[in-house]
Symmetry: C2
């Protein structure tokens, strides 16, 4: 019997409580959102059992509080919520961790907070984008878990297991570096690819008619919302710039090899890139 | 009642004849491949009814001949096959068209050839990658169709309609320019993204554990084969370099805006990229 309060009933928060209800981990879900249409939509979709704008009451009544708001809002929301908790457990679902962990490092209730990052999502947003089983077979990263109380970590592990998630434990700074490689850079390249095609191909009907499945797959993330992603890039700016510079070097090298018509070197580059098959099925 | 000969029983050729058999367009399929294990595999998977290495007999017995080999092999194979045909129809399924059309421009049997490009595929290759319905709701581009005989074009249109494909008519040079934007560049960015991550993230277990659905989606094409793609980049080099240079400019601009911490401009770039939503659902 667990009452869960979710602050932010969008794609990630909504999908998370929906999955928790379906797997019997959450028995009652209270939604908090600054947007009343989000709350109505979330209730209509049975993501939440009740909606409120009274954050402190919703925190007081919960066993677990999930903070699923954009990263910039999270930096002020997390200490505010920790000020309110007694023995409840608080988790975030943010895509960067170091700045957030720094904000609460000396907070007297720091141990009630478990920093987690579910490695799943889609390019859509809002409660209407929430789907069950979004997290099955995906990874849940727990960051700096040694700074959280053992019972709080155990509760989060219980939720992860119930949802069929793999658990990975990382330091916050280490997490931010890795996600720059395997998540954030993909969004940058996808945004840039969309900008490229929109710039070069002025005939939108042609894009629609000719877009291959491959193109759709690489450009899909370019539909992602700036409200979610700008704060992520801001908070993980140094790591993202580092991997982006490496990506620019790799692209420039492929360009030069093609310009020089060195097809043997070009073939070698593709063979090297093919190694990703070993890792991703 | 149509006998179809397919030269090259890989992903595209195999999927095409499989779909044609399932939709009753092809009644008998002869497979020709230089690799006997491909022919055995294709027969075992019922992609073809018989396999042979005797190209001229297979051409003579067919109503429709599909050339589904890499682009470099196609440049010599197409005139060779046109030398053999009487009133049969010959199509290719290649990803570039201008060089190929130039090769047969003055061939006496030019009018029996219809240059087509089905805008669909996956990152896998070989007969084991062939799947039915790969082409449903996808686009079939017919290039320079005015240089083909009316009955040959009509036969290809009949196949496209039976497979549930959208038909688009383009000039060969125009086709090559458009596909550089909406297909070839995606493969370059995906190869470069894989190289970036393999270079920066030396811990392969971490890539496996943390790879988000978004990362997998943008890097999927990096599994594509060099045998197929190097000839495409070679034959469409100028268009690919042109769009690649634009992509490098867009990426560099995103990088500079992020380095300068100009988040208002960064937000604007994402909003512009989001316009791709209008075109691709």
């Amino acid at each position: 019997m667990m009452t869960v309060t979710v602050v932010g009933v969008g794609l990630i928060g909504g999908s998370l409580v929906l999955s928790m209800k379906q797997h019997g981990v959450a028995t009652h879900v209270i939604g908090v959102d600054h947007d009343p249409t989000h709350l109505r939509e979330a209730a209509a979709r049975h993501l939440i059992d009740e909606g409120t704008t009274d954050l402190s009451a919703a925190v007081r009544r919960a066993d677990l509080i999930i903070l699923a708001v954009p990263m910039d809002a999270l930096l002020s929301l997390l200490p505010e919520v920790l000020d309110m908790v007694d023995n409840q457990v608080v988790i975030d679902v943010g895509s960067t961790k170091k700045a957030l962990l720094d904000v609460v490092r000396t907070h007297p209730k720091r141990s009630r907070f478990v920093a987690v990052h579910p490695m799943a999502g889609t390019e859509f947003s809002g409660p209407e984008a929430a789907v069950p089983e979004l997290f099955r077979d995906k990874t849940l990263v727990l960051c700096d878990a040694e700074d959280s109380a053992a019972d709080a970590v155990a509760q989060v592990e219980h939720v992860a297991d119930a949802l069929g998630m793999r658990r990975v434990y990382l330091g916050g700074a280490e997490h931010d570096m890795h996600v720059a490689y395997v998540s954030h850079i993909s969004h940058i390249t996808s945004f840039a690819l969309a900008l490229t095609v929109l710039e070069k191909e002025r005939d939108e009907q042609r894009i629609f008619e000719l877009a291959s499945t491959g193109f759709s797959s690489t450009v899909r993330l370019a539909k992602s919302s700036s409200a979610m992603w700008v704060p992520i890039f801001r908070q993980n700016r140094e790591n993202v710039l580092d991997v982006l510079d490496e990506h620019l070097r790799q692209l420039q090298h492929m360009r030069d090899v093609l310009a020089q018509e060195d097809y043997s070197a070009f073939t070698d580059l593709i063979h090297q890139a093919n190694h990703i098959k070993r890792i991703l099925k």
